[in-house]
């Protein structure tokens, strides 16, 4: 072996939620084994989820970091920013980094997350646009937001909606362009989406759903967008938020199986020895489908990171990953929407909804044929997402409690979980 090549017992690529949980899990079981974190980012660890608040100014950039230098020192972790994994030579247990160096690992975790997916719109490479995934993206967007009069947000997922709200609050005129017929599809149903849409319209945003952009051209102020129906829009600030794609280009030729993401088993192990993957880059089992799926949300990244870390360290306390359950909380204009579980009604299942015009409270609960909860969605109706997720994961039969549950999911859910505690 080349003596110049560094050697580490645990190598983690990425420094966000999945990576940080894996560090915790490894150190819980193996306090000494050499541990190296290589990351593409130039900063200390932070969460992509906090970035909309960096853009809005609510979060001071210096205060968003999830760990400090001292954490790495205390935990005997060598933290190496600006050293992205470039090529994985899995057959040699070697990671080739962007800075030209290589590291030989015993166990490797791929926790490289995701990056914005840029849609193949003709002309997109001729205009300048923003995305929001890294702190640098956020600082750039924050700098531009004040000067913007006419902003266009492409994509009405949660990232786009968050940014749009910030732009509205900063005083820009904002147009949200979304290909599908509703906002936040995949997170919330039509009723909830309409409520969200109304809040945005009330705040002065323009929303164009069912609209496909077919061409982009540079202009003096920024960009011109042409929609399928011929309409054109001018933008002095263009934000592309049309979804994410896992960060895994380094896998080519490595033999690690990847489809939509890096395919892993219930212990987050990839198809190759000594290599695990967790978080937004991983394609792990879905709780409802049982088949591998992408569940690019923060809570799942932490759970997967923990399982992977325990597996890598050989912690006998490990439990198999229970499968990904979609979980989303969304705060907009002082209101909130929460979605837990699957929006698909299972065979023989039942949907219960209620809506109170006066308070604007909306609730939808979906139960399976077995009486268990499979999904619950609310707008302005607070319930504990964590409690609901447990009711789903533990497959607790709610048949006898259904009426009370739908009337007050908060109280009944808490009651049940308190019982399970004892």
């Amino acid at each position: 072996m080349d003596r110049a090549i560094e050697h580490t017992k645990y190598l983690i690529a990425g420094s966000s939620h999945a990576a940080l949980e894996a560090i915790n899990a490894i150190r819980m079981h193996d306090p000494e084994g050499s541990l190296t974190v290589v990351t593409r980012d130039s900063h200390l660890p932070y969460s992509p989820t906090v970035l909309p608040y960096v853009v809005s100014g609510k979060s001071a950039p210096a205060r968003i970091f999830l760990r400090d230098e001292d954490f790495f020192a205390r935990n005997k972790v060598s933290y190496r920013p600006e050293s992205a994994l470039k090529v994985l030579h899995a057959d040699e247990n070697t990671a080739e980094l962007a800075d030209g160096s290589s590291i030989v690992y015993e166990k490797l975790l791929l926790a490289t997350g995701a990056s914005p997916a840029i849609p193949p719109i003709p002309g997109i490479d001729t205009v300048s646009f923003h995305v929001l995934r890294t702190l640098d993206d956020a600082l750039k967007l924050r700098g531009a937001i004040g000067a913007s009069k006419q902003a266009v947000v492409l994509g009405a997922g949660l990232v786009g909606m968050h940014a749009a709200e910030n732009l509205v609050k900063a005083g820009a005129s904002v147009t949200i362009v979304e290909m599908s017929d509703q906002l936040t599809s995949g997170y919330f149903d039509k009723v909830a989406a309409d409520m969200i849409e109304q809040a945005f319209r009330d705040a002065g945003a323009k929303i164009m759903t069912g609209s496909r952009v077919v061409r982009l051209e540079p202009t003096a102020a920024g960009a011109k967008l042409t929609l399928e129906n011929g309409t054109t829009l001018e933008a002095d600030l263009l934000l592309v938020a049309t979804g994410v794609k896992p960060e895994m280009a380094y896998l080519n030729g490595s033999g690690v199986e990847h489809q939509q993401g890096i395919v892993v088993d219930d212990r987050m192990q990839t198809t190759v020895a000594n290599v695990w993957a967790a978080g937004d880059c991983a394609q792990a089992r879905g709780f409802f489908t049982g088949t591998p799926m992408m569940n690019a949300i923060l809570p799942d990244a932490t759970i997967q990171g923990r399982v992977a870390g325990m597996a890598m360290a050989g912690d006998p306390g490990i439990q198999d990953y229970a499968g990904g359950v979609p979980l989303n909380t969304y705060h907009f204009f002082g209101r909130h929407a929460i979605s837990v579980g699957s929006s698909k009604v299972p065979e023989g299942g039942e949907v219960v909804t209620r809506f109170d015009e006066q308070t604007g409270r909306y609730l939808k609960a979906i139960f399976g044929a077995d009486g268990c909860l499979s999904g619950i969605f609310g707008v302005n109706e607070f319930f504990d997402g964590g409690v609901m997720a447990q009711l789903i994961l533990r497959r607790i039969d709610l048949t006898a409690l259904r009426e009370r549950f739908v009337a007050n999911p908060l109280a009944v859910g808490r009651e049940i979980m308190s019982q399970t505690w004892r």
Partner: protein, 442 residues
């Protein structure tokens, strides 16, 4: 060493849903009477009340999912703190917690959670039924953890042995300037007197006969006094060694007011020699000498109440204790040590025996607690100045069957035997109660 933390405990059996804790919390934390804003929430109907309250987890999920670094577990207090200036109101923490320990305060528009009122919970004293308790036993662990363990590691006690626990705590507390006497029994049996010329304790230890423990220790203490050296004289003896053949020397030393602490580890029998009965073995219990067969059904006599007998020696200090009530035990240890500087101090510790009583080795504390909760044993202390008083209320005991069914040595009991035991429990309680009344009269 890692730290232990204080915690709020909830006893659903005592809760009647009055909501006073919620009112207290809403007042303390929001200055309003809006119980919806309380950080402690009681749920349920009529009976069977349930609780939503932050458990201040050791490995908190809310902290790991917070994208803003707004939540943090304080390494000193154990409390998970919320930093309003960092929070971005994303509600992800409410997705992390399985028990609704952090939730949205809709009026404030932010999440809120229990902070234990900085160690002085407003909700706990507000509960009129004692359903909430602020358990501070962790302080003992934190304090004791810093003292030297004077009992060697790797001893030969049974798995889950209560006596080992008691040894370690007691020796830590009395400290290195101690001479220890351990007559035959589990304490030397598990290795305190050592093997091959090395002792199992890091203090001088000797192995008197069952019959002369108190006498020998008294002599040693006097000799040290004579040469002008202050040492703690400590005996740790089994109930057999104290109440049966060793009683004469014990009684004599107590009567003479010898300056020592005599601790009895009462596991209700001669456990290390094969589980024979002692005069402290309770009625009905199986032992190898009070077997269960076609005619015999365990011990046919009631246990001798040794600590009460010691009260009648008018010792400087007499108390009963249990490892299930550690704070109480420590207070009594402190008082007993102090009293032994000038007179005879006697501490009687009820000590379940996993092997001889036949219960799973992980249930020691549970059995010890049930003994107290049913009044099968009572916790009290006595000094000649203040008389006798309970240190743990004997009101509203559980039925004694709750205790009996926790172990194998009572499994064979016939209904009339259970009835006998229950009657004795009530009788003993009344008896000790009368002594406390006496104390009040002076």
């Amino acid at each position: 060493m890692g730290r232990a933390y204080s915690t709020i405990a909830f006893d659903p059996a005592k809760c009647d849903g009055c909501g006073d804790c919620m009112k207290a919390c809403a007042q303390a934390k929001t200055g309003t009477d809006d119980v919806a804003r309380s950080r402690i929430q009681i749920y349920g109907r009529e009976k069977d009340f349930e609780l939503a309250l932050c458990r201040q987890c050791a490995d908190p999920k809310c902290v790991t999912v917070c994208p803003a670094g707004a939540l943090n577990k304080d390494g000193t207090t154990g409390v998970i703190g919320w930093d309003a200036s960092k929070c971005v109101d994303c509600l992800l923490c409410t997705v992390g917690c399985s028990y609704a320990g952090i939730a949205l305060d809709e009026t404030a528009g932010h999440v809120s959670k229990c902070d234990t009122c900085d160690g002085n919970p407003a909700c706990v004293p507000a509960c009129p039924h004692g359903a909430l308790k602020y358990i501070t036993t962790a302080n003992i662990y934190n304090e004791v953890g810093d003292w030297e363990d004077l009992f060697a590691p790797g001893l030969a006690g049974c798995q889950g042995c209560n006596t080992e626990l008691l040894m370690r705590h007691t020796l830590r507390r009395v400290g290195p300037d101690t001479v220890l006497a351990t007559p035959p029994g589990c304490v030397p049996g598990m290795g305190s007197v050592g093997f091959n010329g090395t002792t199992g304790t890091k203090i001088p230890v000797f192995h008197p006969l069952l019959t002369n423990t108190a006498a020998m220790l008294a002599g040693i203490k006097r000799q040290y006094k004579r040469v002008g050296r202050e040492v703690q004289a400590l005996a740790i003896a089994g109930d057999g060694g104290a109440s049966d053949v060793g009683f004469q020397s014990l009684s004599g030393a107590a009567e003479r007011g010898e300056q020592m602490l005599f601790m009895v580890v009462d596991n209700e029998g001669y456990m290390n020699t094969g589980m024979q009965r002692s005069s402290c073995t309770p009625y009905g219990a199986w032992t190898s000498t009070t077997p269960v067969g076609e005619t015999s059904r365990g011990k046919t006599q009631d246990a001798k109440n040794l600590p009460l007998i010691m009260v009648n020696h008018r010792c400087a200090y007499v108390a009963t204790a249990s490892t299930a009530y550690m704070e109480d035990l420590y207070e009594k240890l402190d008082k007993a040590i102090l009293a032994s500087k000038t007179g005879f101090a006697y501490l009687h510790v009820y000590s379940p025996c996993t092997t001889g009583w036949r219960f799973p080795s992980n249930l020691n504390m549970e059995v010890a607690r049930k003994a107290v909760e049913t009044n099968f044993v009572m916790l009290w202390e006595y000094t000649p100045q203040d008389g006798l008083h309970f240190t743990k209320s004997v009101d509203n005991p559980l039925p004694v069957t709750e205790y009996l069914k926790a172990m194998g040595r009572f499994r064979h009991l016939a209904p009339e035997q259970v009835e006998h035991i229950q009657k004795k429990v009530v009788e003993n309680q009344k008896f000790v109660e009368r002594m406390t009344e006496h104390a009040h009269v002076g």
